[in-house]
């Protein structure tokens, strides 16, 4: 029933069976709800039922707003989704049998493994480097501040592909890398050709680039922590390490995580550039197979798409729970997890159906 339940205070034509309990029940909802004369049907159903628990509870239940546009939009989206699904399934252009053939091929999975390795190493190295750079930019030491700023400026200015190709050609530029006094003797030296496998080049290149972007993400997070927190840490004499790891960073993480995950998803996809330093990642393998089997280019691209979607989704799920962890104390009551929310929604739907059936 959808009418605002109005309880008539003086039901003049009171139904015969329950004359005594009716006034007592009607006295529960006070004045305002009882002002207009009740519509006949509202009067007819729940009150006349008399005495049962559902009847006495029903008048006080507030019905949710009606949302017809929500239903309309849902319907529209369902139609569009069905069309897209139909197109994907029936258009022979996609060659789903070939997709199936390629999806779990060892060469593709090998490429996927390379993608995962490069992305994971670069994400960790980039975040560590970015945190160091962010602290550098917030340092009280002006030299450290300037150096961090310069690094970020440089690596945000140079396209990733240029960085990668530079590193790839590094061995041509410098025959050996040595650590020591400039123009003087070196005390530590590497032979470039041994050091630089393609994987190392790819990870170093991506990390250098990633660190510059991560630095700004981390810095934004650190700046978002209220000044009073720093003062409180000062007043308690908390040592710098404890203060950073236990007080400032956990609060900064709330701002850092969403932006850094954005960054991370970009990173996963920019690993496809390592193809240019002759490393066969997921995209590289697809490219490779595509040139060998030109007829399978579309299903191969679909394979790459689906794998990238899976990787991104996995990252998003992790993001959700990481964010939840760092939201501790930020809200009076933490929001439910998606599974819990689904269960609650199912319960609510059942309740509504039951209510609808009753009305």
């Amino acid at each position: 029933m959808n009418e605002p339940p109005a309880a008539p205070p003086q039901p003049a034509p009171a139904p015969a069976p329950a004359p005594a309990p009716a006034p007592a029940r009607d006295s529960l909802p006070p004045g305002p709800t009882a002002s207009p004369p009740a519509p006949a049907d509202a009067h007819g159903m729940p009150f006349a039922a008399g005495g049962t628990a559902t009847a006495s509870a029903a008048p006080r239940r507030v019905l949710p707003q009606r949302r017809p546009w929500r239903w309309a939009a849902t319907l529209l989206l369902l139609v569009v989704a069905a069309q897209v699904a139909h197109g994907l399934a029936t258009n022979p252009f996609y060659q789903w049998d070939r997709f199936q053939y390629w999806f779990l091929r060892p060469s593709i999975l090998g490429g996927l493994l390379i993608t995962l390795k490069v992305a994971a190493y670069s994400a960790v190295a980039g975040l560590l480097g970015g945190t160091a750079l962010a602290l550098g930019r917030l340092s009280r030491n002006p030299v450290v501040r300037a150096a961090s700023w310069l690094y970020i400026w440089l690596f945000r200015s140079v396209p990733l592909i240029v960085v990668l190709l530079f590193l790839y050609n590094f061995s041509a530029l410098y025959k050996s890398l040595s650590l020591g006094v400039p123009f003087g003797p070196g005390f530590l030296s590497f032979d470039e050709s041994h050091l630089a496998t393609d994987l190392v080049i790819a990870v170093v290149g991506l990390s250098l680039n990633e660190a510059a972007y991560a630095a700004e993400v981390v810095r934004a997070g650190l700046l978002s922590v209220d000044h009073g927190q720093h003062e409180a840490a000062d007043a308690l004499g908390l040592p710098p390490r404890y203060r950073f790891t236990r007080i400032v960073l956990p609060q900064a993480m709330r701002a850092i995580v969403p932006s850094y995950v954005n960054q991370l998803i970009g990173l996963v996809k920019s690993t496809s550039l390592v193809f240019y330093v002759s490393l066969l990642d997921l995209f590289g393998q697809v490219q490779n197979m595509g040139s060998t089997f030109p007829g399978d280019v579309v299903p191969l691209l679909l394979v790459a798409t689906v794998w990238y979607v899976i990787l991104t989704s996995a990252v998003s799920v992790v993001q959700y729970y990481v964010e939840r962890r760092f939201a501790r104390g930020a809200l009076r009551t933490p929001p439910p997890t998606p599974p819990a929310r689904l269960r609650a929604a199912a319960r609510a739907l059942r309740a509504r159906i039951a209510l609808g059936a009753a009305a």
Binding site: G228, L236, L238, P239, P240, G329, A330
Partner: protein, 281 residues
């Protein structure tokens, strides 16, 4: 003794706090906090204009004054949250935030400053609790971080301090789940966690709804007379009258009047104190 400190009675770095630093006005307990010749500018604004203050140990001193009179700056200078441009602060005879270098004062290193701050508790106007930590974790943070207590020991200590401020049942609540008055009581427990000899309160009730002020003042009252020196910057004249042993009235960065509440609040000598009290009451 070096020139800028001459005649202030400041003891040498190694010497014990001595009676000469106690206020000459009263032969009371030795001074817990002394501020000598404190000047502070914010740009052209002269916030502290040669403040001289002696706070006897184990007493409650209320600092009153109109807003912008430098009350908070003075309080924050006592634990070196605010750096003085000239002058110095002694807490229990120890120079705070600086050391003698020839005839001048040189700012101490971070580590030494942190050690000194551990001996001075500070309660902020807007609590500044760590929102991602529970009440007990807030209180236990400093003893654990400074290595004074083990984690388990600090937890127990935190719970006993929370019991002291009447929040034994809220040890595991996060600050956002507590009312303003409860949060400020947690903040007081946190300030007591390192067992400081001096606790500074910077308008501890100004951010609270009127009906929550009482519970915080009651906790501060319960600390009075336990041997801890309390300095309270406040707007609550009634509170100053009731529990302060000493009232300091600050205006324009200078101490205009200091004495027992019975004198300063009842028979103020300075016209500025009189004007402030007539407006406030």
């Amino acid at each position: 003794m070096s020139a800028p400190l001459a005649g202030t009675g400041a003891p040498g770095p190694g010497s014990a706090p001595h009676a000469a630093t106690a206020t000459p006005r009263r032969a009371g307990p030795p001074a817990a906090v002394e501020v000598r010749g404190a000047h502070k500018w914010y740009g052209a604004h002269h916030v502290l204009d040669g403040v001289e203050l002696t706070v006897p140990a184990g007493r409650v001193t209320a600092v009153l004054g109109p807003s912008g009179s430098g009350k908070s700056t003075l309080l924050r200078a006592i634990n070196h949250l605010e750096k003085l441009d000239s002058g110095h602060v002694l807490v229990n005879g120890e120079l705070i935030g600086v050391r003698r270098q020839g005839t001048r004062l040189r700012e101490l290193g971070e580590r030494a400053i942190r050690a000194q701050r551990g001996r001075i508790g500070f309660v902020f106007q807007d609590f500044n609790l760590f929102p991602h930590l529970t009440a007990a974790q807030n209180v236990a943070a400093a003893p654990v971080a400074t290595g004074r207590r083990t984690r388990a020991d600090a937890q127990e200590w935190a719970r006993s301090l929370l019991g002291l401020v009447g929040l034994a049942g809220k040890a595991d609540a996060y600050p956002r789940q507590l009312s303003g008055g409860q949060q400020q009581r947690v903040a007081i427990a946190r300030a007591m966690a390192l067992e400081p000899g001096v606790i500074l309160f910077d308008e501890p009730t100004s951010a609270l709804d009127p009906e929550l002020v009482g519970e915080v003042l009651d906790v501060i009252k319960s600390l009075a007379g336990t041997g801890t020196t309390l300095i309270v910057v406040t707007h609550e004249i009634g509170f100053a009258r009731e529990i302060a042993d000493d009232v300091v009235f600050l205006d324009g960065g200078r101490i205009v009047e200091q004495g027992p509440p019975g004198e300063v609040l009842v028979h103020p000598r300075s016209p500025r104190t009189r004007a402030f009290l007539s407006r406030a009451v």
